[in-house]
Every structure is written in C-alpha cells, then in structure tokens.
C-alpha cells in the first residue's frame, strides 16, 4: 500500500487533505494578525547587546530607540539617559517602624516616579499591617482598608526590594539580565530579560514584578509630568535601568530610584513620607544619617537566616516620643535618654 503508484483519485484526495490541513493550521494562527510587532522592539532592538557589552555608541542608539518608543506609545517627548553609579557610594535604606503610619503614600509616589504599569497594576512597595506583638510577616494584613490610619492595635511594615548584598534573584537568572551595580542596587536590563520569572520565584521578599501584558500608563499623566518638569526648566527624563516605560513580558523591580539617588536626590518614597519614617543614604560615608542610624539604633533585617544580607534595615525608636503628634523629621533633639527595657519589639506606631 505504501509505495503503490497512486491513482489520480488518491492523489486528489491527499491533495485535498494537505490543503485542509494547511488551512486549519493557518486559521489556528489567525490571532497573530493582531500582533503588534512594535512591542518587540524591531530589528535593532532584537540585535541589541547586553547592557554591559554596549559601547557608548550602542547605548546612544538604544536611548534614541527608547525615546521614539515612548513617543510612539504615549505621544510624549522624553529624554532617555543612562546614569552611572558614583564611586565610593553604596546605598542603604533604613525604615523607622515606630513612625510609619501605613498611609501607603510611598506606594503611589513610587508608581508615579517609576512609570509602572497601571493596568495590569504594578507596585513595588507592599505595606503590611502587623498586629502588635509579632514580627512574623505571615501574620501581616496586605489588604487593610481603613478610613484613617494608623490603627491603635497595629504597626505598619512597608516592604520593597531589599537590594541584597547576596541576592538570590541575580544568581538564578539564566541570561544575566539582572545584576547588582557597584553602588549596591540590583537592576534589570529590560531589553535582555527573557521573562522566565525564575528570579521572581527566587526572591524571598517578593520584590519582583512581571509585565504580564503591555504596560499602560495614562498619557495625560506623562504629559502633566513633562509640563511640571518644563516649568522648572527641565525636560522629562527616563532612565535605561530604572524608570523608562517597560516592554511587555519582562521583569522589573525597585531600583532605589537610581536616576534620582545617583544624582544626589532622595528616593520618591522617602520624599513623600509624611512622618519621616524613611531614611536613605550612603553607608560608606560615616557622617551620613543612615550610617548614624546603623551605628546607634538597634536595626534588624527581614529573614536574616536566609543570608541575603539586605541593604534595607528596619528599626524602632528606642525612646518615648515627647509629643505624640510627631511632626518633626530630624530625629528628636532634646529627648530624654530613656531606654526601653521591655516591649521594644512591639513598636510604637504613634
């Protein structure tokens, strides 16, 4: 039967079968007609080198591509930059749990600053509402929703990327799309990530986010930002390793606002905090506020047993505040030295 010379009818029949098969195949692929090839970054984007292998010219071309990509997607003119780390700087964050009131202002300031996708929604900071008497984050409430904060019986614990000194996330990446910069910030090359999400599984602090769909940001918002920048005589900037609008299908994370902090500004989450719970600076500079805090406060890190060595520290005030309104930012000058001997870990949210 196999090699029998085929009759005309046989031939026709197999011809029809082949055509039907091809037709079914093509119609199965029909949804691809809606595919927006631009989301893939074009031929140059496809051929672009890894961040660390790009020459100055390569980077220039890549930044130009980012600018035109933002223009295409959001109809806004931006200036794309690639701000490098500064020598002799290693960033550290310290968060005062006695002060944090759980208002989530940092969460939203971060989204604004870093141009995260609004739908699907991406936020880098999670604030947990913790019952007093525990530091076990499994007991925290992620979705607390109160007309006013803080609540008497709780304290609040914001969590974001801890910029680990020994990060599990960079270890697992099969293509080195994520690494730690000399100033201690773990970054992602959004143009190199293949979207396997292994780093997301590896991070013990749930700090990584994936772009499950093409990120969306309201145009008006970007335009408003641009207007605000121009009012100050500046341009709207985006940065290669941090806040440029991301492509679909890649991982992103908190970068300690490196486009701000590498130029001497504070992270957006710190600036917006109404109670001054957030402290940030260069740990290599012994006069910096964070260096002082690490020296004088009883700081701790989350999940210390995992050996990730975070650059994100938590602490409680060891002094009783004099007046409970606590408007001041600058520590509490003139406070009596009362060291708590008991219940320090229960926190003082007010």
């Amino acid at each position: 039967m196999l090699a029998r010379p085929s009759t005309r009818r046989n031939f026709l029949r197999s011809g029809v079968q082949v055509v039907a098969g091809m037709g079914a195949f093509v119609s199965a692929l029909k949804p691809l007609a809606d595919f927006d090839v631009d989301t893939l970054g074009g031929v140059e984007g496809f051929l672009q080198k890894h961040y660390k292998e790009m020459s100055a010219d390569d980077m220039k071309a890549s930044l130009a591509r980012i600018e035109s990509d933002v223009k295409r997607r959001f109809d806004v003119d931006v200036v794309a930059r690639d701000i490098k780390p500064v020598d002799g700087v290693e960033f550290v964050y310290a968060l005062n749990l006695s002060r944090c009131v759980g208002c989530r202002k940092c969460v939203h300031a971060c989204v604004q600053e870093n141009n995260q996708s609004r739908s699907p929604e991406i936020q880098y900071i999670r604030v947990l509402e913790m019952p007093k008497g525990t530091l076990d984050i499994e007991k925290g409430n992620h979705h607390y929703d109160r007309p006013t904060v803080p609540d008497e019986d709780h304290f609040y614990m914001p969590i974001q990327c801890h910029q680990c000194d020994d990060p599990p996330c960079t270890k697992v990446c099969p293509v080195e799309a994520t690494w730690t910069e000399p100033d201690g910030i773990t970054v992602v090359d959004y143009d190199w990530c293949i979207g396997c999400r292994y780093c997301e599984a590896a991070c013990p602090y749930w700090a990584r986010r994936f772009n499950f769909a093409e990120p969306t940001i309201p145009k008006e918002e970007l335009i408003a930002k641009k207007d605000a920048a121009e009012a100050k005589g500046e341009q709207l900037e985006v940065n290669y390793l941090s806040n440029r609008p991301r492509p679909v299908g890649v991982v992103e994370k908190c970068t300690f606002c490196l486009h701000r902090t590498r130029e001497g500004k504070m992270p957006a989450c710190l600036e917006v905090c109404p109670v001054g719970a957030r402290k940030f600076g260069n740990i290599l500079d012994s006069t910096s506020e964070v260096a002082q805090i690490l020296k004088t406060k009883r700081v701790f890190v989350l999940k210390e047993e995992l050996g990730t060595n975070p650059r994100f520290f938590y602490y409680f005030d060891e002094r009783y505040p004099q007046d409970s309104s606590q408007k001041s930012f600058e520590g509490m000058p003139g406070m009596p030295e009362i060291t708590r001997t008991h219940g320090a870990s229960k926190g003082e949210p007010k």
């Binding site: 039967m1 196999l2 090699a3 029998r4 197999s14 098969g21 195949f25 199965a28 692929l29 949804p31 691809l32 595919f35 927006d36 496809f46 080198k49 890894h50 991406i122 999670r126 947990l128 076990d136 984050i137 499994e138 007991k139 925290g140 992620h142 599990p168 270890k171 697992v172 990446c173 099969p174 293509v175 080195e176 799309a177 190199w192 990530c193 293949i194 979207g195 396997c196 999400r197 292994y198 997301e200 599984a201 590896a202 991070c203 013990p204 602090y205 749930w206 986010r209 994936f210 772009n211 499950f212 769909a213 093409e214 492509p247 679909v248 299908g249 890649v250 999940k303 995992l306 050996g307």
Partner: protein, 406 residues
C-alpha cells in the same frame, strides 16, 4: 544521503497510513493540537495576562507540566538499565519505545518552556550571555537538550540500521546508552534543584525533593510505557512479551512505594514541626486563611496513588483490567502531585505571607492540551514508524510493505 531523504519521506507517508481507529486518533490529536496553537497565538498577542498566573503565583500549569514531563523523559532509562546493566533479555526490544517516549517528552518540555517564557523572541540571549554554572536553569537547558540529542541519536541509529538491514555496531550506540542512563538521572535531579535551591521558598527548600522527583518519575514513566505497550499489543501485530510487562510492574511497584514513603516523610516533618514554614503544606492539605482550592486536588492524588498501590500489591495485579487502570490512576495521581501538589503551593502563601490563589484560565489550559496533543502526535508517529522498521517489514529493499496496523 538520498537514501536518507527517501527514508524520511516514507516514514512521513507511513504516518498517514493505518486503520480507521488510528486515523481517528491522529485526527483527534491534530485538532486538539491546532486548538492549542490557536490559544498560544492569542497568548502571544495578549501576553501572559491571558493565563491565570500573577506576581504571587508566577509559575503555573506550564511549569507544572514541564516538571512532570521531565520525569517521564527520565523514566525511559528504567527500561534501559535492566537491559544493559542486568542483561535482561525480555526488555531488549522494548528499550527503543522508552527512548522514543523520552524524545517525545523532552520535546513537550521544550514546548512548555517556550509557552511559559515572557519573551520567547529573546531565546537567543541564552547563547550570548549564558549564566553558567551559577544559574541552575542553565544546567537544565544543557541537560535537557543533551538528553534529547542522546536519545535521538540512539533511536535514530537503531532504526536506521534496521531499515538498512544492518546489524547495529555496538560502538556506535552502547556508550551512548550508558551515558543516557546517567544523563536521565541528571535531568530530573537538576530540575528538582531548580526548586529546592530556593531558600526563600521553604516548601521546596528540602533535600528530599530530588529523590521524590526521581521516585515519582520512575513510577509514572514506566506506567505510561505499560499503557503504550498494551496498546501496541492490542492494535498491532507486534508481540510484546509478557515478561516485559512483569519487569515493568516490579519497577513501578517499588518506585511508587518509595514515592509514597517520601511523601509521608515530608508530611510528617511539616506537620509535626508545625512552624510557620509549614504554611504551604497547610494550604495544600487543609486550606489556609479560608482559601482551599488545592485541597481536593491533593487528596484526589493521594487516593489515586493509594488505589494504584493497593492493586499493585494485590493478586489483581496480573489481570490487565486492574493493572491498566492502576497505571492510569498513578499517572494522573503523580501529575497532580507534581503540579497542583508541588509547583503551585510553593507560591502560596507568598514570601510575604499573602494567600493568593491560582486559577488557570481556559486559554492556558487549551495551550496545555495542545502541547500534550502535539507530543502524543509525535510519539504516535514515532512508534507507528518504528514498529514496521524494527520488525523488518519496512526496509530499504522492501518497498511494498504490508500495513502492520491492520
């Protein structure tokens, strides 16, 4: 070379020849595969948002199926070891089916990985900046593709020799067979290390994970082969020796027993210690924070595996009517145990303690069915072509081969 293209051509033609039932089966698989392809095309357009995966549960059905299939692929050696190490003659002719299963299973694995990647278009980056040896995933890429190549070589060589009516030269395949044995252990061990190496996921961070993976694979893989052999026996002229099925049964029984024992060890450690690290296990077996989507799954898996184990230890094991369903139950049970019982609960609760459930979408389920159908299609064709070649009905000199599926 010309002979080779002719060989491929004939194989291709042969895959369209068969009984009504065979054609129906092939048509059915093709339709499902095309539906899956259609679903995948939708995913390519809409991104992974078309799946039920989230930042909380960032791996789902795709990686679960991938893990299960790595096990199936590894289990091919369970036929090879008795033949080449213990010189068991019964299984000798059947080795090739194990290897064909390995080829099909690894192919499915690669398809599942492709489906899971956010940017499959950037696959080339693997060749340009390969984070080896630090990333376990790079090891997995190497061992899986290496395993595929090894098995393709062994099967291809044996079939090609039979087609040319030559006796296979030992030097050309025996060393590769032994290499494949070690390699098979490596693929499943490395895949287990993908998970067990993550300190931030206490549910996976257990040394017993790799042995558990191997034990369950060495039960499910041979069980699948038993079903295949029963089908071959029933529908083709090829005679599968009874003794072969018995040897396989021995392997399956031991492997399944060890698997259940290891599962028990894990359950004891988690629940007796009862630290907060056991949160995932609590979620899996009894629900957590009012959420319990996986509870019915894991208990179904345990019931299926227990059923299989009881049959295998009872006198009924000799009757195909019991033996075959036991194999089927075990395959499903182990599939659940790996997917819904291991990959998904590893993400619940999240490292920050949030209990967020994963519900696969229809689209992602269709992609999974499509990949399975494509894999089974490949496996059927491979088996379909191999049988007449091995039994000497289709060789370069026998042009008018009779149809061995009738």
């Amino acid at each position: 070379m010309r002979e080779y293209t002719r060989f491929l051509q004939r194989c291709f033609r042969l895959s369209f020849v068969g009984t009504k039932l065979y054609k129906f089966w092939m048509l059915f698989l093709s339709v499902v595969a095309l539906i899956g392809l259609n679903a995948w095309a939708k995913q390519a357009v809409g991104g992974l948002a078309t799946t039920g995966m989230t930042d909380q549960v960032s791996w789902g059905l795709y990686i679960a199926n991938f893990t299960f299939l790595v096990g199936m692929a590894a289990a091919a050696v369970m036929l090879v070891i008795p033949v080449y190490v213990y010189k068991n003659k019964d299984l000798h002719d059947l080795v090739i089916f194990g290897e064909l299963l390995a080829v099909a299973a690894v192919t499915m694995c690669l398809m599942f990985i492709m489906a899971d990647m956010g940017r499959p278009d950037r696959g080339l980056h693997l060749f340009m900046r390969f984070n080896w040896p630090i990333s376990v995933l790079t090891w997995d890429v190497i061992v899986l593709n290496g395993y595929l190549a090894l098995n393709l070589h062994i099967c291809g060589y044996l079939i090609w020799c039979a087609y040319n009516e030559r006796k296979p030269g030992k030097a050309f395949y025996i060393p590769f067979v032994f290499l494949a044995i070690f390699w098979a252990f490596s693929i499943h061990t490395v895949t287990a290390f993908l998970y067990s190496g993550l300190g931030g996921r206490p549910f996976w961070n257990s040394a017993v994970l790799a042995p558990r993976f191997l034990a369950s694979a060495f039960a499910a893989g041979p069980a699948f082969l038993v079903l295949t052999l029963l089908v071959i026996n029933r529908f083709t002229k090829y005679d599968v020796p009874r003794a072969a099925l018995q040897t396989l049964r021995g392997i399956i029984t031991v492997a399944l027993t060890i698997n259940m024992f290891l599962l028990g060890c894990e359950v004891f450690t988690e629940f007796y210690t009862d630290s907060t690290h056991a949160a995932s296990a609590h979620y899996l077996f009894e629900g957590l924070g009012g959420k319990h989507a996986l509870v019915p799954w894991i208990w179904t898996a345990i019931a299926l595996n227990t059923f299989a184990l009881v049959v295998l230890y009872s006198p009924f094991k000799r009757r195909v009517v019991f033996y075959a369903p036991a194999c089927g139950a075990m395959i499903v049970g182990i599939w659940i145990e790996k997917g819904m019982g291991l990959i998904v609960p590893g993400f619940i609760p999240t490292p920050l303690g949030e209990v967020f459930e994963y519900v696969p979408t229809l689209n992602e389920t269709l992609v999974c069915f499509g990949i399975w159908a494509a894999g089974l299609l490949l496996f059927t064709i491979l088996v379909r072509v191999t049988i007449p070649v091995l039994s000497g009905e289709l060789t370069k000199n026998k042009l008018y081969s009779t149809d061995s599926f009738s």
